[in-house]
């Protein structure tokens, strides 16, 4: 392609984004995550995809945002959008960040796709004053029902991958995640469960209720 062709081609010629882990469909968790980010914060988005959340946080919250993304195609899209993003792997590259370098470190729908979620979570807690994590809930009734009735690994509308090609290699339930937080000494400052329609499930509901009816959950953690 000549430079002229590139310049006139506009967005049609932009490379397409790479598939992302986590839940398919509109990312309602991003709304909740954004609401937890303070104005003007220094933010690191680990697994930032094509930069949707970062762009939004910069526009709405005036954050100083950085991103890490594993898929090179997505990184190039982010940088072309003017975002400060590097190609990197949460499993291996978080060690290069200094302690408490960010006010908020975000990991949305990505922890379940890492090889070693526990050390990754520990690194996130070390790097950020606060850590905001969203996870798909493998304890959701739809998943339970599918496994119970069909006896096969669940492939649902929102988790469309088969067991052999899923990027989500470390699924957990909301209760599993809370247990992991305990284990790494993280304090859960806030937690929100979202049902299949993306609405928040009431605070007053017990964990077991969240664990059955929450399709995903967003946590704010501190060391």
């Amino acid at each position: 392609m000549t430079l002229q062709a590139f310049q006139s081609a506009g967005t049609d010629s932009l490379p397409t984004e790479a598939p992302s882990p986590g839940l398919d469909g509109p990312r309602v968790d991003l709304e909740v995550i954004a609401s937890f980010v303070p104005q003007g914060a220094r933010v690191l988005d680990v697994g930032c995809g094509t930069g949707e959340l970062l762009e939004r946080l910069q526009a709405e919250k005036g954050v100083d945002g950085r991103g890490v993304e594993i898929a090179q195609r997505n990184v190039n899209l982010c940088v072309a959008r003017g975002l400060s993003v590097i190609q990197g792997d949460a499993d291996s590259d978080l060690v290069f960040y200094p302690d408490k370098a960010f006010d908020a470190v975000i990991m949305s729908q990505t922890l379940q796709a890492t090889r070693r979620p526990k050390p990754v979570l520990e690194d996130l807690l070390r790097i950020g004053e606060r850590v905001i994590v969203s996870i798909p809930n493998f304890g959701h009734w739809r998943v339970r029902l599918s496994l119970l009735l069909r006896g096969r690994m669940p492939v649902t509308r929102d988790l469309p991958y088969s067991w052999y090609d899923t990027p989500n290699i470390h699924f957990c339930t909301i209760r599993d995640f809370v247990a992991l937080c305990d284990e790494v000494g993280a304090r859960v400052e806030r937690a929100v469960a979202l049902d299949a329609s993306g609405s928040r499930i009431g605070w007053s509901m017990p964990w077991w209720f969240w664990n059955v009816f929450g399709q995903q959950a967003v946590f704010v953690l501190r060391q």
């Binding site: 430079l3 590139f6 932009l14 190039n76 982010c78 400060s84 200094p98 370098a101």
Partner: protein, 390 residues
């Protein structure tokens, strides 16, 4: 122009360049890392576009090993277009209607900045190897004196590939406050052992040529063309990649039906390399090649921090965008990623893109749309942050 005429032309560019040049007298010596002062000395440069009233729209372009200041204009010796015209010019990504672009020949070069072919004021004869060894830090220090001359306190961006990228890193490390944004491309924070090895092959080829005359070939009226051509041939291979060579040439024969069972250039790749070698010697000074390669070999940003690269950038406010290419085996992605990790550790704002291409190290000079998109996006967001209007 004949080859001899080209060679004469390139020699006149040394002391009387067609570019504007700035001469620093005895009051402004260049303090070299080698421990001596270079004085007087000269820098030849090109500028494009206008410096705005706030002097906030200047972009410094740093050239690579065998490049020069003619980044976006016809080359005075070869008549070829500028080496980065695809990126820099009116309406281009580095739009000279918006930015004031400066590119200077590095000290040690042969296109008008003081180098080994320049006249040594002490003797009136070319320096030859009497010129102290020049380092990347020296090159950048000289550029900073040029930028002072323009009254520019802070450059909006410093950009360059390969040895140019080393200068970008050196600018950010040693003059960080003066660099708003930095775009090091296909480079490294230090020259690898393998790269030093290739450079040594090149230097030995030059010095083995009887016409090199111990570095005094200009006075002897000779030129170590064969040695320099061989050096260029070997280096040129390192700028490409195996798949690209295969795609372009394969085992195709040059103007013949079958092998000749001799040592003529049977294969297209041989003929291509010979051409690359011979056209290089028309425009480049052999001693300059020794100095440039040495400068790259000596480059190691982390050396004075006991190997901790992050410390070279500690406290930096500069915004970085590091670019590498998948098929570049001279400055592979891993080395570029080391820079990124160091910048992360220093808490810097950094973007990093790796461009997929089979064109090897030379890709940074070529039409790589994804590289252009990254540079464009990075510069736009930096311009917004700097308060430069679109």
């Amino acid at each position: 122009m004949t080859v001899a005429a080209l060679a004469r032309k390139s020699l006149t560019e040394v002391d009387e360049p067609s570019s504007p040049s700035l001469r620093f007298g005895p009051d402004k010596p260049l303090k070299l890392e080698a421990g001596v002062d270079l004085s007087p000395f000269q820098i030849a440069y090109q500028t494009y576009g206008e410096l705005n009233a706030q002097k906030s729209n200047a972009i410094l372009v740093c050239h690579a090993l065998t490049g020069d200041q003619h980044v976006a204009n016809r080359h005075p010796v070869t008549g070829k277009p500028g080496w980065w015209e695809i990126l820099i010019g009116p309406g281009r990504i580095i739009d000279t209607a918006r930015f004031f672009v400066v590119c200077a020949n590095v000290v040690g070069g042969c296109m008008g900045s003081t180098g080994p072919a320049s006249a040594n004021p002490a003797t009136g004869k070319p320096f030859g190897l009497d010129l102290p060894v020049i380092t990347v830090r020296d090159m950048v220090r000289a550029q900073a004196m040029l930028i002072d001359h323009f009254g520019i306190d802070q450059l909006f961006c410093v950009i360059g590939g390969s040895m140019g990228g080393m200068q970008v890193l050196e600018w950010a490390a040693s003059h960080g406050r003066r660099v708003f944004s930095a775009l090091p491309i296909a480079t490294g924070a230090r020259h690898s052992s393998q790269n030093i090895a290739f450079h040594e092959v090149g230097r030995q080829a030059v010095m083995a040529d009887p016409d090199w005359c111990g570095g005094r070939y200009i006075e002897a009226g000779r030129r170590p063309e064969k040695g320099l051509a061989v050096a260029r041939m070997a280096a040129h291979i390192t700028y490409l990649s195996e798949p690209a060579l295969h795609r372009k040439f394969g085992r195709s024969l040059q103007d013949r039906e079958k092998l000749t069972f001799g040592f003529d250039a049977d294969f297209q790749i041989e003929s291509y390399l010979r051409h690359q070698g011979m056209s290089f010697v028309d425009r480049f000074d052999a001693n300059s090649y020794l100095y440039m390669t040495r400068a790259m070999d000596y480059f190691d940003l982390a050396a004075e921090h006991e190997g901790r690269l992050a410390e070279a950038f500690s406290g930096t406010k500069t915004r970085f965008c590091v670019v590498s290419f998948t098929s570049d085996w001279l400055f592979p992605t891993a080395g570029n990623r080391e820079i990124v990790h160091a910048l992360n550790a220093a808490g810097a704002s950094v973007s990093f893109v790796e461009i997929e291409t089979d064109r090897g190290h030379d890709a940074f000079l070529l039409d790589e749309p994804e590289m252009f998109r990254a540079i464009d996006g990075f510069l736009r967001s930096a311009a917004r942050a700097r308060g430069l209007s679109a």
